[in-house]
Amino acid sequence: MASRQVVMRAKYKNSVRDPGIQGVLIMMEDKISFTPDDPTSSVRVNIEVKSIKSLKFSKEGSQRALLNLILDPDIKEGGCIFEFEKFSDRDVCRDFVSRVLAKLQALQSSVKDSKTVSERPVDEQLSTAEMRHRMKLLQENIELQKLHKQFVISGVLTEAEFWATRKELLAVHASKTPKQRVGFKSAMIADVRPLTDGRSNLVTFNLTPEIIHQIFAEKPAVHKAYLSFVPRKMSEMDFWKKYCRAEYLHKTKNAVAAAAEAADDEELAVFLKHDEILASEARRKLRRVDPTLDMEADQGDDYMHLPDHGIFRDGSKETIDTEYDEYKRTLAQNLNRHAAVVLEGRALDVELGDTQTVAEALFRYKQSELATETSDENSTQERLERLSRMTEIEDLQDSHNLPFAPLCIKDPREYFDSQQANAVKALGDTEIGTKPVNCVLSTQQAYGSLKIIISEIKENGFSYPIVKPDVALKVLNGLTQHLSSTKHHLGKSPQDTVLDRLPQRTREELLHHWACIQELLKHFWSSYPITTKSLHTKVSRVKDALSEIYPKLQGIKESAQSDFRHQVSLLVQPMLQALDAAFAHYDAEMQKRPGKSAERPNGYA
């Protein structure tokens, strides 16, 4: 692979006679820079590759190994001359620059052309992103690039016409979503464990803005409490202290203690009790579940019956006291709530940090979400309809048969006739297969003779030998010959195609021509019927391009070696036929045209 960068010692000169400054020349794909050895020197050269117009170089064997980059006169008159110590060094640089230039020009020409083209029709205002995407497609697909170069750049097709047939390629790109958003961490905040230092009874909780956001999202009650308490009733610090206290109580699994504390402090109770908002939300969601879904069906799931889903818990601490039930939270509840929030994703675009703004933004978001939900009130109606539809008893319903018109084919023989002639012709048999069999016989005679034959066989047995050896040999030879001849014509195995046996060049030419013809014919036929002037010019342009391919195909056919000539002509034949069909149609249309335009003098063509 060619290197992406070339570093070479060279002298930079303003003119050929200039003694020059010794330095290092670094060539990259997009720019060329020269740094002199002497750091005090003011000479710094930075050349963008796209400003290079052309390059000159001294002949090998001349006095000095020079490379002259002729730049865009707007940037710098004359050029930048570099002198190398050896010709081989110069050649490396020269080759690199010319390669980079060629690449750039290929890109530019397609862009430039498409730009000039896109200026012509008014509706073709392409965004740069679109442009870039098209260029990317061309770069990725060499076949497409070839076609594009051949037809669009030579002016046979316009850029718009070329891409109009490839909308699906462009559409794929458009559907790509640009950015991925970061959601909540899937780790549970329950893992933010209180830190104890082991000496004192001090318990430390560590809350970051990220965690606070997550708490708000997972526990609407905390969120609501924050909005109503802070800062009117208590400071943010106090609020979180209370929250942590509640969390700590939960952690210790001491429902009795929690109940006692909640009774003393009503704010603390908010954190300790079950989240009412969550519960109502869950109920609302439950109402929206498909009524035909049997949610009790999977209650027998064994997994559910295990306490805390198999995670070890000290059973002695679990009191089965309904009185304190509301102060208990199970792991399953936490887990489910967390999972729901993670799946919902982060909807806020607010910078995390200030708790108040986050809380408010979340509140606004919830409000708007609620609004949209309540707006589809008719969903209840829909739900009821669905329910009645699902519970209806099939036997009592009308048949749901859609009205249809039976297909009535008057005469199926027509289908046979439309295919039969060609099918039989292909076998080199002119006899038509439907020639009625000997009808001289009456039904009785015919059946009679058949029955006589059968009873004769039964009486006399078969004549042995069943098949005479010489006939069998003849058959075997015939079959073998037939097989070897078809093998010769059609290739050894069905997998390898005729194309594989052609010389590489012929093969590529054929494939390329076929691609060209297909592209052009697609445009040709899609232009009919000609209703506008532009279609008319397009057809004549395409037709001219097609007629240019015609002699080329003939050329391939004639230049093929005698071994392959037959196969090549077989391959070329359908192409020529397709072209002929197009030409015939074109000519027929042209002959019709003058009369028509005379009939419609107002230039309707």
Binding site: K410, S418, A423, K435, V467, A472, V475
Partner: protein
């Protein structure tokens, strides 16, 4: 003999369904014209019975079903899986299996004749669609017995010409065979090629062959058509030069590259019609300019 419960079907065990053309008009015509290249029914039956025997000898698990294609009916003649070889041959001249087939064949021909009494004389085409359907039904039943079954294929021995009015039924049978991956081999013993069978073999990847030396039919059958599906991947079998799928229009029977197609019944026309002549669908006017009468008038003198 009931089928062995623990049958071990390997890849090369075949279920061969042979369709025999018993069109009396075809065989009668062959007898009277007595052309050198034609085949008499007795020779034909002798060769086919020998072929069936050889198939059963190739692998003891192989199964052969024979279906007779008559003019008025079709029926199963023989099934090697439900065969009872207790009785000996009737006169010792013909082996038991052959005599059983012959007896059934005779019964079938008589039954077919009974049906023809009240039918018009003009129908002389064999019911290929019927026998193909019987064969496919049999094969479907075998498919449904479980995952282990012999590899099925159909061999059509057709002499009489194609019946154009069976087109839809035959094509349906062919496509159904294609769907269930059942190759249809065809051996044309009549004087003309068969467009039906040519298509059938092409579509289902079977072998189409029209033997040149009909007196060596057995050799053709055993060389080409005895090949089981597994061996076909390694053996060279006669290949068709290709089928010309270009259609000709229903109205003038000329081969066309572009035309109008009825969206309901797929009939092909070389020019726009107001109504489909095959199914009666009424077409909307898509391009009033193209179909305007003034255009057509001007086109005719040119052509």
């Amino acid at each position: 003999m009931a089928s062995v419960p623990s049958k071990l079907y390997s890849d090369d065990v075949s279920l061969l369904v042979v369709l025999i053309d018993t069109n009396p008009f075809f065989w009668g015509g062959v007898n009277t014209t007595n052309a050198s290249s034609s085949l008499s029914f007795s020779t034909f039956i002798a060769h086919v019975l020998s072929f069936i025997n050889s198939i059963l000898l190739l692998n003891q698990l192989s199964q052969v079903v024979v279906i007779a294609t008559g003019v008025n009916s079709c029926n199963y003649i023989y099934d090697s899986s439900s065969q009872t070889v207790t009785e000996n041959s009737e006169n010792g001249i013909i082996p038991a299996r052959s005599s059983q087939i012959l007896r059934k064949l005779e019964e079938f021909v008589s039954a077919d004749e009974q049906l023809s009494k009240d039918l018009s004389q003009a129908r002389v085409f064999s019911l290929l669609s019927g026998s193909l359907s019987l064969a496919l039904c049999y094969i479907q039943r075998v498919f449904r017995t479980g995952s282990l079954h012999p590899q099925p294929r159909i061999l059509c021995l057709q002499g009489s010409p194609d019946g154009p009015e069976q087109y839809v039924a035959v094509m349906n049978a062919i496509f159904s065979a294609q769907r269930s991956m059942v190759p249809i081999d065809s051996c044309v013993i009549g004087s003309q090629h068969s467009a039906f069978l040519q298509q059938a073999s092409y579509i289902t990847a079977g072998v189409y062959l029209k033997p040149q030396h009909l007196d060596g039919l057995f050799q053709y059958l055993s060389t080409v058509f005895a090949t089981d599906l597994l061996s076909r991947s390694v053996l060279e079998l006669p290949k068709p030069a290709g089928v010309d799928f270009r259609a000709s229009c229903f109205c003038h029977k000329k081969t066309i590259d572009m035309g109008y197609i009825c969206s309901v019944c797929l009939s092909i026309f070389c020019k726009h019609h107001k109504k489909c002549s095959t199914c009666g669908s009424v077409f909307g006017e898509a391009h009033p300019e193209v179909t305007s009468t003034s255009d057509k008038k001007r086109k005719t003198p040119m052509a």
